[in-house]
Subunit: 424 residues, 3 copies
């Protein structure tokens, strides 16, 4: 994907000089880069698109030889070479593997695999990948019991991911993990609060800069009185749906209280329905319901005026709500372009609306959501190109901003707002 508008191309070049802080990823800091082409093509975008385009799931089994899997996915890529996800892959191959072409075919498999293994084994690979994408820091997604030592928390910023606590506390395994991580057996509201405090204390002492969660369309936050919550927590294992509603809401509200106490922004990724396609590939089963509204979060935003909520939504329809809620609520911030909205047609429209109506200091431009560092470059480049074009068309050509001012706006979106909001 190239920009063919010379003004946008110039801006893009300048924007690429802004050192990025990536405020949301799934990087494993102990193994941040790919070690083979299989690690690249194992990203769920490729496995799910290959499966959607006709590949059965057998090549994805653990026992299959990685190069066989790569060949199966490359073969099916011919069916989705129109997609932006294919473009990401081409850009990785060209930027990192010295691939010279513009299309890939099965015939390239061996050369690509060989080249990938050779180059990725280089001791400076991680540094080179980060430098080439111009990424300075990467936020992580840490389970509450992840070990937070033995990696550079300055480069890889821990974030407390809380889906398990809010939605899976009825599972004995989750409660055991929580007990082990905190030394506290959760049996009522007080012990639950204690356990969360231990977690937040542990995380913030290890450099955590955000609390994060993904939420289904029907989730409605609300305060749960201590006694009710205690009853629900005691009944946790009984799987009564009324109790589930209570303890889920109760834990969520308590997390917001801890965000306030520990001064952490709360990343809300709103609207995902899990396991919609039951037989889908790993991480390729979730979808959404466009009938989702931020109105459900109004009590939360009102109750926690001193917590910054960084909101991601899944649809362009919901983006208009997000624009409006960020324009009105001081503590609501737009955050990135998530998953099914992370394609140019929607990013462009959603970005234009945000830039026209949300204070520029309240916008987190983009995050990678990546599992391997190599994806930072093509994903951020996609965003940087769209941003450059929107700045050219909506700001510079209509003389709203000078080029200098437009670049300052880009810097806010890609770096300075993240630094200020997350205090990094």
């Amino acid at each position: 994907m190239m920009l063919y508008d010379s003004l946008a191309q110039e801006l893009y070049t300048e924007i690429c000089h802004i050192p990025l802080i990536d405020p949301h990823s799934h990087i494993d800091p102990r193994c941040p880069t790919a070690r083979s082409l299989d690690d690249i093509l194992g990203y769920h975008y490729y496995t799910e698109l290959a499966h959607s385009a006709g590949m059965d799931k057998s090549p994805l089994a653990a026992e299959v030889e990685p190069r066989e899997r790569v060949r199966a996915i490359l073969y099916h890529m011919a069916h989705f070479d129109n997609t932006i996800q294919y473009q990401w892959f081409i850009e990785i191959a060209r930027a990192f593997l010295n691939f010279q072409g513009h299309r890939l075919s099965l015939g390239d498999a061996t050369w690509l695999c060989d080249t990938a293994e050779r180059l990725m084994a280089s001791p400076d690979w991680e540094t080179r990948v980060l430098r080439q994408a111009n990424i300075e820091k990467v936020f992580l997604t840490n389970e509450f019991d992840d070990a937070l030592d033995s990696f550079d928390t300055n480069r890889y910023v821990p974030c407390l991911r809380t889906d398990d606590l809010v939605f899976h506390l009825d599972k004995p395994a989750v409660r055991q993990r929580l007990a082990k991580a905190t030394g506290i057996e959760v049996g009522d509201t007080a012990s639950l609060r204690q356990a969360l405090t231990v977690l937040f204390d542990h995380f913030t002492r290890h450099g955590a800069k955000a609390c994060a969660i993904s939420l289904p369309p029907d989730f409605v936050p609300g305060f749960v009185p201590d006694q009710q919550l205690s009853a629900a927590v005691r009944a946790l294992a009984q799987n009564d749906p009324r109790d589930r509603l209570l303890w889920s809401r109760g834990v969520f509200w308590m997390l917001a209280e801890h965000c306030r106490t520990f001064r952490l922004p709360f990343d809300l990724m709103i609207g995902v329905n899990r396991r919609v396609y039951e037989q889908g590939v790993h991480q390729g089963q979730d979808l959404f319901d466009q009938r989702t509204s931020l109105i459900q979060y109004a009590p939360l935003f009102n109750a926690f005026a001193d917590v910054t909520f960084c909101i991601s939504v899944l649809s362009s329809g919901q983006n208009q709500e997000l624009v409006s809620y960020s324009w009105i609520f001081p503590n609501v911030v737009t955050s990135g372009h998530w998953w099914y909205s992370n394609i140019p047609a929607y990013i462009q429209q959603d970005l234009r609306a945000r830039l026209q109506a949300v204070p520029k200091t309240k916008q987190i431009g983009y995050y990678s959501d990546m599992y391997k560092l190599e994806f930072g470059l093509p994903k951020f480049n996609m965003y940087r190109r769209i941003l450059a074009q929107v700045l050219a068309d909506d700001f510079i050509r209509p003389r709203v901003y000078t080029e200098m001012q437009a670049l300052e706006l880009a810097r806010l979106l890609l770096r300075d707002n993240v630094r200020r909001i997350f205090n990094v």
Copy 2:
């Protein structure tokens, strides 16, 4: 409507050389073309827009002299000459009636009527119309008891339309038609299944290539156990809304089972509310509720992994869901730009998103939905122009595709995917 971008214009010219297969229409194969201007302007788009713009319904009465009706509609067209539907009409007049102007007025009525009658009476009219639009095959919409002989099922491909079975089986007339068509009196689950099997057998032996239905926003597919379905079928005439829910869902599910058995794709046209404007003109009474979600169809898509569902939606908001569901579910395919989404502003945005995120082999570009063959040309031309522009801007100029590759993509959307998916 002309393209003013020369690259898009070139692509458009090439795209027009791709022989079309139109996968959804309402053509009467025994009377496929218009015989007068009245047949053209009788299309509900014109009667409903004229009525919306102030024409009362009296000119539409059967006893009114056709040229009077034409004059009434032409007169009111001056109020909607801004619409794309007006452009379709101009394009028909220019392409088929040798009209030389760019605007039409009441003063043109006589000349147009005379010319239409003269030319449309020509024995090669049907062939000429199809050739000029470059349409090779046209799918039909057949009621379950339509006669399927005495026309060329190679050119006019039968499709079993099932709205009556799923939503109107409580009407004695429908049950009588079903009994007559199948020789089976439906009284329980077993006889219902038998009757459907007779229909599918009859249709597929006569070249039917799809089963189709339109569905209201609140329809939620689901399996109904045999015994429950039998009870609901027995109580059919009693109009109990709970029973209606049961037999509607039961028949629908059974149709999907037959699609599996008979290897027919199932066209789902999701989201239409019937008779919203009660006093509207014929076929100009239906609207939608934007609060419609494909999440309701997840159980269906999961249960019938081996049935291809070709999905049409009514709103651009729902298109984002469709893009996402087609990206994830192997058996979900995007299909055309339907009705209230069939205008350039929405086609363009919806098409861009599909091309960026759905495997190219899983997209049925466009269908005409036409009642008379003359509409194939302007409707497909509208789509071909938008497609050409999107290919120029999103694929060729950014160097994602060469022109050749872009044209191959167009060929998939307009021809090859239809052939493969519907096995024609």
Copy 3:
């Protein structure tokens, strides 16, 4: 904001020559213009954006010195100089205050305040502001007990705003105001009807041209039988939510009946949730729920075929419904671009769809929604520029319209439709 496309720029210049009729504002006809910069920056768009960007509410207190408030808001404007609302302000400063720059800073505060006070004190200020924006008439928003004399109702057209009657009749103060305004104590359906008749009679005799209301997403109009309504009216003060539903619907339906009798169009502004952000600034607390549908209004549109409903919606998703409902229902008209949809990214897309599918005689292009006349210029200019660009790209360049025809369409949208629909 400048147009950089020369064809669009030419069109814009011509469009600016069309004398506007502004069909919805909140102007106080006895004090229509600003008298200081504080009156300009007191517009809720600036106070809410400044608050959203970090300003606490203390500078907004009545006792604060106006220039202090101006400085506080100007200071925070640096955080939202990316927004279209900031552009409105720059355009006011340049057009009316002889400001020469393209950016504003705190350093400009004194000069701006001095200049504003000096110029706004000029006796011909009102005339000059209207002439510069080329506004001929401005519709008002009048409470049912507003005095309608002592201003020029030819220039400032009264409109009966009915939110209080439909949603706040349970408040003793509202009932007292109603009794005072009409001389009727409302105690049942008959007296309610009498009171409304007195109001409509009073308003229409004083030149009122519309009845208007804003409605929450969950409002579902419907007929309420007289007896039920009487019971609900009698129980008004009891605050039973079932009664509230009844009297709200009953009063609303009765307003529609009066619109029919008095031949007034009914402006429906659909979708606003009040007081969502509880601690927000004055008028900066309301938001919406994208899950709103016009399907709820079908019974109303069907029952009142002879009342014109001018519909405003809050989201681009709902705009597609509005386009479709206006295309089908003769008595449904599109009206302006409201509030959270009143930014270029949404206006452009929503306008394109309307122009492609709704009869041109059924579109009210734009209204200002302004509280002070100075905002007419930048808001209408924003719309005029977007309209000019859409006309250039979708009508003139594709040879759908000549420039002359495009300007006639603009004239319908900005003037002639308002004149005809509201009978001014």
